[in-house]
Amino acid sequence: MKKIHPQKNFVALTLAAVLVAGLISPLTFRVRAEEPKTTAPATTNSVTPSAVSPTASTSALHKKLTGAELYSIHCNRCHPERFPTERTAAQWKTIMLHMQVRAGIPGKQSRLILQYLQENSGR
């Protein structure tokens, strides 16, 4: 009954490669965390999914979180990051209420993120 599927091996290999890459990536990150960060605001629909969010600090979380930090904690979890410049300040207000409910973000954190998005929306 047992058949040999060459494609199956290919898939298994890819899965293994992805997992290995994932396990290696934290190491690469630790090195890069030492590099200075740019603070330029993200541009609309930036083609490259940025490796490190421009405003995020990669240091461990211990002090009170800022809107920018909360943005980088939450807004890349479920989908590719949506940048502040993609929407106007008024639009963000509605979208953040939507995300607050959908993603289960506490009200206070949601307001901090909203403030960050609005301040950097450019409109």
Binding site: H5, Q7, K8, F10, V11, T14, L15, A17, V18, L19, A21, G22, L23, S25, P26, T28, F29, N45, S46, V47, T48, P49, S50, A51, V52, S53, A56, S57, T58, L61, H62, K63, L65, E69, L70, S72, I73, N76, R77, C78, H79, P80, R82, F83, A90, Q91, K93, T94, I95, L97, H98, Q100, V101, R102, G104, I105, P106, G107, K108, Q109
Partner: protein
């Protein structure tokens, strides 16, 4: 010379003075006259005093009157101002917006669109599906949001062709009322927190063009009410997420309690026969709790446990219950792994207890993480997934998927996947190739 002239002048002046001055000593005033005159003067003085007093009184009265006049004038002015203010307030009231946003700012359309090309083994390749899934958001003030998602699908041929179908589905339609920072009340056709897949599965979110098999074991939406929210645990971003809900729950497609009649997505509106949606006696309850912990931005772990249970057949004899364990892990902005383990069981008239079970594990790695100086590779993400499902009626299917996502922009994705399917059901294809363009807007 000068001296004698001055003396002469002085004498002359003395004479002139002597001539000009009257001589009082010469007039005679009797005592009687003097006394009469004195009385007269005294009387006049008395009259003058009384006049002065009257004048004083009059002035006081005038002052009082003036004061009263000023007061009256002030009252009049105030009254006028008040009436103006009231009039203004009355006139302005309907124009004061509920908050700073106008109606236009309260309303938004988001969503996604997908176009798929599908090649299943032993069949011709075809553009299989065009999907347009707009989401409408209406926000009222600070804490009310109505959200509704639709799904327009065009399958098979163009509209004038033979077997075309266009489907329009209401994916969800819920009213959210934010009670406070930690709790929101939702009601309507709810996206159910049974696992996280259906809450997070819009086309451009999904790293694969199709759903894991096992998510079909649980309903994605349900009509009812839900309380949900999040509690921060400390200051470091850790969260406890919770939700609890009551819905009509799964129903029976044909009124029987037979295993094949289970309808997970049914029980949502007035039936064609005119009876209310809920075809069984009781509502169904469910809940999810999850723990989210970020280590630092882009590094986090989320683990959740959810379940739902209630009767499903019209007679209310059988229970349908499900439990889901979900987890998501991010190690940097470039690596994500997530998965769910799903079990469900339900009683039936014909086949007794049905046990269903399935799981999936998927991972993605963005090559940007390798820091290669190759722009083309920086936009590429490699993805892989394993999923399996036992439907409890004898079919066991396993599937291996490997693919890529090319990010044309952060919201325009070009995906390609190759799937190998191993199923005990001989009707299932054994392999499949899918290309998809996906746009989130």
């Amino acid at each position: 010379m000068i001296k004698s002239r001055s003396i002469f002048g002085l004498v002359a002046a003395g004479c002139a003075l002597g001539l000009a001055c009257p001589q009082p000593s010469r007039a005679v005033v009797s005592d009687e006259d003097f006394n009469a005159l004195k009385t007269l003067v005294q009387q006049m003085n008395g009259k003058l005093q009384s006049l002065e007093q009257t004048n004083l009184q009059d002035q006081r009265v005038i002052q009082q009157l003036q004061q009263k006049l000023t007061e009256t004038q002030r009252t009049a002015v105030e009254a006028q101002q008040n009436s103006i203010a009231t009039a203004q307030a009355q006139a302005a009231a309907p124009r004061v917006p509920l908050d700073e946003a106008t109606v236009n700012h309260n309303f938004q359309i988001l969503g996604d669109a997908e176009i798929q090309y599908n090649k299943t083994d032993h069949q011709n390749g075809a553009f299989l599906l065009a999907d347009f899934a707009p989401i409408f958001l209406y926000r009222g003030g600070e804490n009310i949001l109505f959200e509704a998602g639709f799904d327009f699908g065009l399958q098979n041929n163009s509209p004038n062709g033979g077997g075309y179908t266009t489907t329009v589905n209401l994916s969800f339609a819920q009213l959210d009322y934010v009670l406070n920072d930690y709790l929101t009340l939702c009601a309507g056709d709810l996206v159910l927190p049974l696992g996280t897949y259906s809450e997070r599965s819009a086309g451009w979110l999904n790293k694969f063009p199709d759903n894991p098999l096992a998510v079909d074991l649980v309903p994605g939406t349900g009509v009812g009410a839900e309380l949900r929210g999040a509690l921060p645990l400390g200051e470091t971003g850790k969260l406890l997420n919770y939700s609890i809900y009551g819905v009509n729950g799964p129903g029976s497609a044909n009124g029987t309690g037979n295993a094949g009649a289970l309808d997970l997505g049914g029980n949502v509106g007035i039936t064609s026969g005119g009876s209310t949606a809920n075809t069984h006696g009781n509502l169904v309850g469910g809940a999810r709790v999850a723990f989210f912990t970020p280590f630092k931005p882009h590094y986090d772990l989320e683990v959740g446990l959810s379940g739902q249970s209630g009767e499903w057949d019209d007679a209310g004899k059988h229970l349908w219950s499900a439990g889901v364990l979900d987890a998501a892990l991010h190690l940097g902005a470039n690596f994500e792994a997530k998965g769910e383990y799903i079990i469900s069981r339900y009683g039936s008239d014909d086949l007794g207890q049905i046990h269903q079970q399935g799981w999936f594990l998927q991972a993605g790695y963005k090559l940007a993480g390798l820091n290669l100086n190759l722009p083309a590779l920086n936009n590429l993400e490699l993805v892989a997934r394993y999923d399996s499902m036992r439907d409890g009626l004898g079919t066991h299917t396993r599937r291996y998927t490997a693919g890529y996502i090319y990010y044309l922009t952060s919201a325009l994705l070009f995906e390609g996947d190759y799937e190998i399917i191993r199923s005990s059901d001989p009707a299932q294809p054994t392999s499949q190739f899918i290309l998809q363009m996906s746009y989130g807007f």
